[in-house]
C-alpha cells in the first residue's frame, strides 16, 4: 500500500496534472448565471464505469469558480470513503481570476478524518477534505477524484447544481456499462434522453445540462431531487462481498436484502426459553407482540455500528442477545427472531426516515433508504415496530417514519406499502389555562396540556432522554414569556394505543400585562403565539410541501384584577384557507376574559402559485395571536 502511494505521487509530479485542458477565466461567465450566485460550476464531467460484476470506477472532474466568500464551501473538496470504496487519487489546481494557475494541490494538504455523524458509535466511513483557502475573488478550482468501488451495489447520482447558490455552465454525466447490462436510471427535471454510443462491447450514456441559474433556498420545499435536475442510478444486477442478485424491481430489491440477512435470526437457547415464558400463556398475537416488544426495550439499547458490509447487513440475533445492543438493522432483525420464536411472522422493513422527510419515488426501485423498522401483519391490522426506541408504545410510529412508502423485505421479495398517516385530529394539542391577573401586571396561571401522536414526539424524546434537572431547566427557560417563575411542573405519559402526554404547569408570569398609569394591556393568548412568519418569495417555483398535519385547541380564562374594566376588546379572527383554518374569539364576562383559539394545519402538497396565500395565512395568524385587551381602572 505504502509503495503504491509512492508510485502514484511520483506519477503525479512528473506529468502536468491537467495539461492541455482549457482555462476558465472568470470573465467568461455569462452575466445571467452570476445573478444571486456565490459560485459557478464551469464544467463538470462525472464518469461512472462498470468494470466487472463486482467493481465500478467513478471519476469526478470539475471546475468551479468562486465569486465571493460565501461560495468558498462550494469549492471545498469532501470525498468520503469506507471499506466498500477506495479513493485512488485526488488532483487539484487553483487558478486566479484570469484562469492562470496559482498552485497545485499537495497530497500532504489533504486531511483524512473519521466521518461519524452524531450518535454513531463505530463506523469505517472516513472523509478526505481539501481546501485551497484562497481569498482573492473570483478564483477557480479544478478537482479530479478517482474512486474505486469493490461492489456493484453503490451507484452514484448526478446533481449538476450541487449547492443552493451555485449556477452551472456545463455538467455532464457519462455512464459506461457492458452492452448486455441494463442501465437503470430515473431522471428528474431533465428534458429529453441521454445520448447513447457504443464501442466494442460497452455502451455509453451521456446526459448534459447547461446554463442553469441558481435555485435559491425555499421554505416548505420538497426534497432536493424534486426541485432540480437530478438523476438516480440503480444497479440491475448487483454483487457485494459474496452476495449476488438482480435489482430490477422492488421485488428484486427486497429479495436481495432478504438474502443479505438470511440465517441471521438464530437465537440462543436461553432467549428462546424467555420468549416462551413471556408469551406461551398469552392468547392473542397482539399481547404477544406487546410483551416481546417490551422485552426488547428492556434488554437492548441502540448503538450504531456501521463497518464494511455491516452498513447494509444486520448483526446476527445471537450477537444482539449477547451484547444487549445493536443498530436499527440488528434490533429489527432480533425482534423479528423473537416474534418468529413465538410463532408470529413479521417483515424487516426498509424506510427513508426523518421527520417530514416523506418524499419518496415509488416508481423507481432504488436504494432510497436510511433506516429499518419492523412490520407485523395481523390480518387487517398491521402493527409497526420501531425497534431502536426503548420507550415508545408498541405499534406507534412517530413522525420519524409515519406517512411514507416503505419496502417490506419478504421471502418472496420486496413489497412497497405505506406506513400509517396520523391526521390533524390525532396530532392534537389541547390546552387549558386558568389565570388570575394582578394589578401589577403579573399573571398567575395553571396550565394543563394534553398532546397526542406526533405533537408529543419531541416531548416523549425529551422526557426519556434528558435528566430531570435538564427538564426542569427547560421548562423554566423555554416558554415565550417575558419573565416567569415556575411553581410546579409535572408530566405523565399515558398508556394506550395512541401515545399521549399530559403536562401540568403552574407559573407566575411577571409583568405579563404591561401597565401604563391606569391602563393595562393584556394579550389573552398566553402560550400559543405563532412564532413563525414566512419571508416573501416572489418567484416560487417548487411545490409547497407541508409534511405535518396538526390541530391546536387553546382555552384561556383570565380573571381580571378588581376595579379594572375593558376599554377595548379585539374582535375575533376567522381564517379559512386550503392550508388550514384558524379561529379565535375573545369575550369578557363576569370580570373574566375568555379566549378560545382553534387552529388546524392540514399538511399536504400545494401548487407554487398558492405561496402568497400561505404567507398571508401565516402573517394573519401572527397578527391575530398578538391581539390585546386594553383594561382601564375605574376611577
Amino acid at each position: 500500500m505504502y509503495r503504491l502511494l509512492n508510485v502514484l505521487c511520483l506519477l503525479m509530479l512528473s506529468g502536468s496534472a491537467f495539461a492541455g485542458d482549457p482555462v476558465y477565466p472568470a470573465l467568461m461567465i455569462p452575466a445571467e448565471l452570476k445573478e444571486k450566485a456565490h459560485s459557478v460550476k464551469r464544467w463538470e464531467e462525472i464518469s461512472f464505469r462498470l468494470v466487472s460484476t463486482h467493481e465500478t470506477r467513478l471519476t469526478e472532474h470539475y471546475v468551479i469558480t468562486v465569486l465571493d466568500p460565501n461560495g468558498d464551501d462550494d469549492a471545498a473538496l469532501t470525498a468520503g470513503y469506507s471499506k466498500l470504496t477506495e479513493i485512488r487519487s485526488i488532483r487539484g489546481v487553483l487558478y486566479d481570476a484570469a484562469g492562470k494557475m496559482v498552485k497545485k494541490l499537495k497530497q500532504s494538504d489533504i486531511s483524512d478524518e473519521s466521518f461519524s455523524s452524531g450518535g454513531t458509535f463505530a463506523t469505517d466511513d472516513r472523509v478526505k477534505r481539501h481546501n485551497f483557502n484562497y481569498n482573492v475573488y473570483p478564483y477557480t478550482v479544478e478537482y479530479e477524484i478517482e474512486t474505486r468501488y469493490n461492489n456493484t451495489f453503490l451507484f452514484p447520482y448526478w446533481l449538476p447544481r450541487s449547492a443552493s447558490s451555485m449556477a452551472v455552465e456545463q455538467s455532464r454525466m457519462v455512464v459506461t456499462v457492458p452492452k448486455d447490462y441494463q442501465l437503470r436510471y430515473q431522471a428528474y427535471n431533465f428534458a429529453g434522453n441521454p445520448q447513447v454510443s457504443e464501442e466494442k462491447d460497452m455502451r455509453t450514456y451521456t446526459w448534459e445540462a447547461k446554463n442553469m441559474k441558481v435555485a435559491p433556498a425555499q421554505v416548505f420545499a420538497p426534497a432536493l431531487w424534486r426541485r432540480t435536475t437530478f438523476i438516480r442510478f440503480s444497479p440491475s444486477e448487483v454483487e457485494m462481498d459474496n452476495y449476488k442478485g438482480k435489482l430490477n424491481t422492488w421485488e428484486d430489491f427486497g429479495r436481495f436484502f432478504y438474502a443479505l440477512n438470511e440465517g441471521r435470526d438464530q437465537l440462543p437457547e436461553t432467549v428462546k426459553q424467555t420468549v416462551h415464558q413471556l408469551t406461551d400463556n398469552l392468547s392473542s398475537p397482539a399481547e404477544k407482540i406487546s410483551a416481546l416488544y417490551r422485552y426488547l426495550q428492556q434488554t437492548t439499547r441502540y448503538i450504531s455500528i456501521q463497518l464494511g458490509i455491516g452498513g447494509w447487513q444486520t448483526f446476527d440475533a445471537a450477537t444482539v442477545a449477547a451484547k444487549g445492543y445493536g443498530d436499527c438493522k440488528a434490533l429489527s432483525n432480533y425482534m423479528q427472531a423473537l416474534l418468529k420464536e413465538a410463532g408470529i411472522r413479521s417483515h424487516y422493513t426498509l424506510v427513508h426516515a426523518g421527520p417530514g422527510e416523506n418524499d419518496f419515488d415509488e416508481t423507481f426501485s432504488s436504494n432510497q433508504f436510511n433506516h429499518v423498522i419492523l412490520c407485523v401483519p395481523l390480518g387487517k391490522d398491521t402493527t409497526w415496530l420501531e425497534c431502536t426506541s426503548q420507550y415508545i408504545q408498541p405499534g406507534y410510529l412517530s413522525g420519524f417514519t409515519s406517512n411514507r412508502p416503505v419496502l417490506l423485505v419478504t421471502e418472496q421479495g420486496g413489497k412497497l406499502v405505506r406506513t400509517p398517516v396520523y391526521k390533524a385530529e390525532q396530532n392534537l394539542q389541547l390546552r387549558r389555562i386558568d389565570a388570575q391577573l394582578h394589578p401589577d401586571g403579573n399573571l398567575q396561571a395553571t396550565i394543563s396540556t394534553r398532546s397526542t401522536c406526533e405533537q408529543q414526539d419531541d416531548l416523549q424524546e425529551r422526557f426519556h432522554r434528558q435528566s430531570k434537572e435538564k427538564i426542569t431547566e427547560w421548562i423554566r427557560t423555554s416558554l415565550s414569556l417575558p419573565s416567569y417563575d415556575v411553581a410546579h411542573y409535572d408530566y405523565k405519559v399515558e398508556e394506550g394505543a395512541m401515545p399521549a402526554i399530559r403536562e401540568q404547569l403552574s407559573l407566575t408570569a411577571r409583568n405579563y400585562a404591561s401597565t401604563s398609569g391606569k391602563r393595562m394591556f393584556l394579550e389573552p393568548n398566553v402560550l400559543a403565539k405563532s412564532r413563525s412568519r414566512i419571508t416573501t418569495e416572489t418567484d416560487r417555483r417548487s411545490v409547497i410541501h407541508l409534511p405535518f398535519a396538526f390541530k391546536d385547541e387553546d382555552t384561556v380564562n383570565i380573571a381580571l384584577p378588581a376595579g379594572y374594566v375593558p376599554e377595548s376588546i379585539p374582535k375575533g379572527t376567522t381564517l379559512r384557507t386550503r392550508f388550514g383554518t384558524y379561529t379565535s374569539s375573545i369575550t369578557v364576562k363576569d370580570n373574566t376574559v375568555t379566549y378560545i383559539r382553534i387552529t388546524q394545519h392540514n399538511g399536504g402538497d400545494y401548487l407554487p402559485d398558492s405561496f402568497a396565500e400561505l404567507e398571508k395565512f401565516y402573517d394573519d395568524i401572527y397578527k391575530a395571536d398578538r391581539c390585546r385587551v386594553v383594561l382601564v381602572k375605574r376611577e
Partner: protein, 663 residues
C-alpha cells in the same frame, strides 16, 4: 477562581480508603435505586479511582495511568454512561500512548443473583482522529436499567510531560472520586486545582522507590550488541492523593464563557527534569523562559528572529508612500486582513513555516497574525505576538506559564506612546478585537513578557437608536436611525454579506409597514459600527384610541435571565450602554390620554442605571430610555438583582402611550 495551587502540605495521615475491588459485586450493591446527592440522576458514578505514576521502562521513564470506574445505571436515560472514550497521544518515531489490561463488565441482578457479562476485547473500536490523537471507544454489553458497570484500564505513555489531569466532576453525579499521583524527585510539576467542590482529603506521603533501567549495550563502534546493562536508582517519590466525595453533576448555564472554567479538576504542568548527574532541565517555569522557548520553537516564533527577505517586496509595495508609522501599520494590517484566509481560530502552534503561510495566504489564527507581526517588523515597526486564550477555551492562568492554556495569537504594535492590538484573522477594524478574545489574561511576547488583560468588564459596547415621527398628510411618518454596537455591527455585516441588504430589510418589513429609503452606512469600513437608516409609515387607522409603545420593536421583550437560580458567575460579552430616543409629533386630531411615568433605577448603586424619561411639550412627545451596565461579570450572589433589574426593564419598556381622538 483558582482555589488551590501547587505546594500541598501534608494534611494528616488518616486516609479513608475506598474498598472497591474489580468484580466484587454483591446483591446488596443493587439495593439503592436513588441517591440523595441527586434524586433525579439517571446514572451515578459509584467510584472513579485513578493514579499516575512513573516507571522505569528500558532506558527511560514512562508514565503509567490507571483507572477504575464503577457506575450504576439507574434508568434508560443513563445508558450513555456505558460508553467510554479514551484519547491517546501519538508522538514521533512510532511511539504512542498504549492501552493495556482493559477489563470491562456489566452486572445485573437476576432472581437475586448477580449475573456478570464481560465485554470481549473485540468490542473496542479504534479510530485515528488526526496526526496527534487516537481514540479508543467501547460500550458495555447487557446494559439494562439498574445495571452496575465497571471498567479498568492502564495507559502507558512514553512521554513524561503529559501527566494526565483528573476531573472530579462530570456529566453524572459522583459518590467517590480519587486521584493519586506519584512524582519522583527527578521531576517538578506545578499543580493547578479549580472548581467549587471541596476535597474530602488531600494528602502527601513521601516514599522510597527503586527504578531499574536497562540499557542496550553498544559496541565501541556504536552498533547494538544484543546485550543489556542494568542500572538501578533509588529515589524519593511524593505520593499525592486527592479525594472528593458526593460531587454534583456539572451544570451548563447561559452566559458562561466556558464550563471548563468551573469544573472541579486538577491538572499538572511539568516545570523541570532533574536527572541525577545531569544539569537541571527547566521545562517551563517562568514567563521569560516560556517566551524564550516559544520564540525558538520551529512551530512558533523562530521565523520572527530571521530577516524574512521573502516578504520584503510585498512590505515595500504595501507601505509605499505611507507618511507615518501608524499609516504603515494600518496598511499592513488591512493587507493581511483582506488577503489571508483563516482556517482555524483555535491554534497556538504554527503548522507550517512562515514562508509557506505567507505564500499560500491562508493559515490558522496564529499563522496569520505571525505573518502580520513579521511584516510589521519588516517595515521597521516595533511589533510582537500576543498569546491569549479565547472564551470557549477557558481562562489562561495568570500565575503559571502553562502553554496549553493558550490557543490564540494576535499582534501588538507600539507607535509612539500608543499600543495597538491587531487581529487580521477576522474582518475587524484596526485596533479591534473579536468578542471571543475578551477573556482576561494574555501575554505580549516582548522582552518583559508584559501581562495584559482583555476583560469583558473593561469593554463598553454602545448602541444608539433614534426614531423621529412626524405627521404628514394626516399620516405618521417615521425616520429610524440606529448605530448598533460594534459586535452587533460585525454580525450584521456578515449577515448582509451572506444574504444581501435586500434580505436584511425584508425581515424588517414585517415589523414596520411600508419601509422606504433603507440604507446601511459604514458597511465596508469595519473601523466603526454601522448605521442603519430607513423611513416607515405608522398606520393610525383612524381608531378612537391609539396605543403605542414608544420603543416600537426596540423594547426588551424578554428577560435574558430566565433561570431562577445560578451556580456560576454570569459572564456577559461586554459592559453595555443602550440609548434609545423618540421624538414624536402627535397625529392630527389626537390628544394624549395617558403617558407612562418617567423613572430612574440604579443597579448596585454605581454599577448601572436604567433611565426612562418621557415628556410632552406642546404637540411633541420626547422620550428617552437608557440601559447602562458598567461591568460584564456578575457573581452568582448578584444574579437575583440582575434578573430583577431586567424584569423591571421589560416591564417599563412594555408600557404604552395612549392617544385619544379629539371629540
Amino acid at each position: 477562581m483558582i482555589l488551590a495551587s501547587c505546594l500541598l502540605t501534608v494534611l494528616g495521615t488518616a486516609q479513608e480508603k475506598n474498598k472497591i475491588r474489580f468484580g466484587k459485586i454483591s446483591p446488596e450493591d443493587f439495593q439503592k435505586t436513588s441517591y440523595d446527592l441527586d434524586t433525579g440522576a439517571h446514572a451515578v458514578i459509584l467510584a472513579d479511582i485513578g493514579s499516575s505514576e512513573f516507571e522505569a521502562e528500558k532506558d527511560h521513564f514512562r508514565l503509567v495511568f490507571k483507572r477504575h470506574r464503577r457506575v450504576k445505571i439507574l434508568d434508560k436515560a443513563g445508558y450513555d454512561a456505558a460508553t467510554e472514550e479514551l484519547y491517546l497521544r501519538k508522538f514521533s518515531y512510532n511511539s504512542e500512548d498504549k492501552v493495556s489490561n482493559l477489563k470491562a463488565a456489566t452486572y445485573n441482578l437476576e432472581n437475586g443473583k448477580v449475573v456478570e457479562t464481560a465485554m470481549d476485547s473485540k468490542s473496542v473500536f479504534t479510530e485515528k482522529l488526526d496526526e496527534d490523537f487516537i481514540r479508543k471507544k467501547f460500550t458495555l454489553p447487557a446494559v439494562k436499567e439498574g445495571a452496575i458497570i465497571e471498567y479498568s484500564y492502564t495507559i502507558y505513555s512514553p512521554s513524561t510531560s503529559y501527566l494526565r489531569a483528573w476531573n472530579f466532576q462530570g456529566e453524572y453525579p459522583c459518590l467517590w472520586s480519587e486521584y493519586t499521583v506519584g512524582i519522583p524527585e527527578f521531576f517538578d510539576f506545578i499543580f493547578i486545582a479549580q472548581g467549587y467542590h471541596p476535597f474530602e482529603s488531600k494528602t502527601r506521603e513521601d516514599v522510597r522507590k527503586t527504578f531499574a533501567f536497562r540499557f542496550d549495550r553498544e559496541s565501541s563502534y556504536g552498533s547494538k550488541t544484543g546485550q543489556t546493562d542494568s542500572y538501578s536508582v533509588g529515589a524519593n517519590v511524593s505520593m499525592y492523593r486527592w479525594v472528593a466525595k458526593n460531587v454534583p453533576a456539572l451544570k451548563e448555564e447561559n452566559f458562561t464563557t466556558s464550563i471548563s472554567n468551573h469544573i472541579s479538576r486538577i491538572e499538572f504542568q511539568l516545570s523541570a527534569r532533574k536527572y541525577p548527574g545531569q544539569a537541571v532541565e527547566e521545562v517551563m517555569t517562568t514567563w521569560p523562559k516560556l517566551r524564550e522557548l516559544l520564540m525558538k520553537d520551529e512551530s512558533y516564533g523562530i521565523a520572527l528572529g530571521k530577516n524574512n527577505g521573502f516578504m520584503g517586496d510585498e512590505v515595500t509595495m504595501v507601505t509605499a508612500g505611507a507618511t507615518s508609522d501608524e499609516e504603515k501599520a494600518r496598511r499592513i494590517y488591512y493587507y493581511v486582513r483582506n488577503n489571508y484566509t483563516c482556517t482555524d481560530h483555535s491554534s497556538l502552534a504554527m503548522d507550517k513555516p512562515l514562508k509557506t503561510v505567507f505564500n499560500s495566504k491562508s493559515g490558522n489564527v496564529s499563522e496569520i497574525n505571525m505573518v502580520l507581526v513579521a511584516m510589521l517588523r519588516k517595515a521597521g515597526l516595533n511589533a510582537y505576538p500576543v498569546i491569549l486564550s479565547t472564551r470557549s477555551h477557558g481562562f489562561a492562568n495568570p500565575l503559571y506559564p502553562m502553554i496549553n492554556r493558550f490557543n490564540y495569537t494576535i499582534a501588538e504594535v507600539s507607535i509612539g506612546d500608543k499600543t495597538h492590538f491587531l487581529d487580521a484573522s477576522y474582518p475587524l477594524g484596526f485596533d479591534k478585537l473579536h468578542v471571543s478574545c475578551y477573556n482576561g489574561h494574555a501575554r505580549i511576547l516582548d522582552e518583559e513578557v508584559t501581562a495584559v488583560q482583555f476583560d469583558a468588564d473593561s469593554l463598553l459596547e454602545q448602541k444608539l437608536t433614534s426614531i423621529i415621527l412626524r405627521t404628514e398628510d394626516g399620516k405618521l411618518k417615521g425616520a429610524f436611525q440606529q448605530r448598533p454596537t460594534y459586535f452587533e455591527s460585525y454580525a450584521l455585516r456578515s449577515q448582509v454579506k451572506e444574504k444581501g441588504k435586500e434580505e436584511y430589510f425584508k425581515s424588517l418589513d414585517k415589523v414596520f409597514a411600508k419601509i422606504s429609503n433603507p440604507d446601511i452606512e459604514d458597511l465596508d469600513s469595519l473601523e466603526t459600527p454601522v448605521m442603519v437608516k430607513y423611513e416607515f409609515e405608522y398606520e393610525t387607522n383612524d381608531e378612537d384610541m391609539i396605543y403605542l409603545n414608544p420603543m416600537f420593536s426596540e423594547a426588551t421583550r424578554n428577560n435574558p435571565f430566565k433561570s431562577l437560580d445560578r451556580k456560576y458567575p454570569v459572564e456577559m460579552y461586554s459592559a453595555m450602554d443602550e440609548i434609545y430616543t423618540l421624538n414624536m409629533e402627535l397625529p392630527a386630531g389626537y390628544d394624549v390620554e395617558e403617558l407612562p411615568k418617567s423613572t430612574l433605577v440604579k443597579f448596585n448603586e454605581d454599577e448601572g442605571v436604567f433611565q426612562y424619561v418621557i415628556a410632552r411639550t406642546g404637540n411633541i412627545i420626547q422620550f428617552r430610555s437608557r440601559i447602562k451596565l458598567n461591568k460584564a461579570t456578575f457573581p452568582p450572589e448578584e444574579y437575583a438583582t440582575l434578573r430583577d433589574f431586567f424584569d423591571m426593564i421589560v416591564k417599563k419598556q412594555g408600557e404604552q402611550i395612549v392617544l385619544k381622538k379629539k371629540k
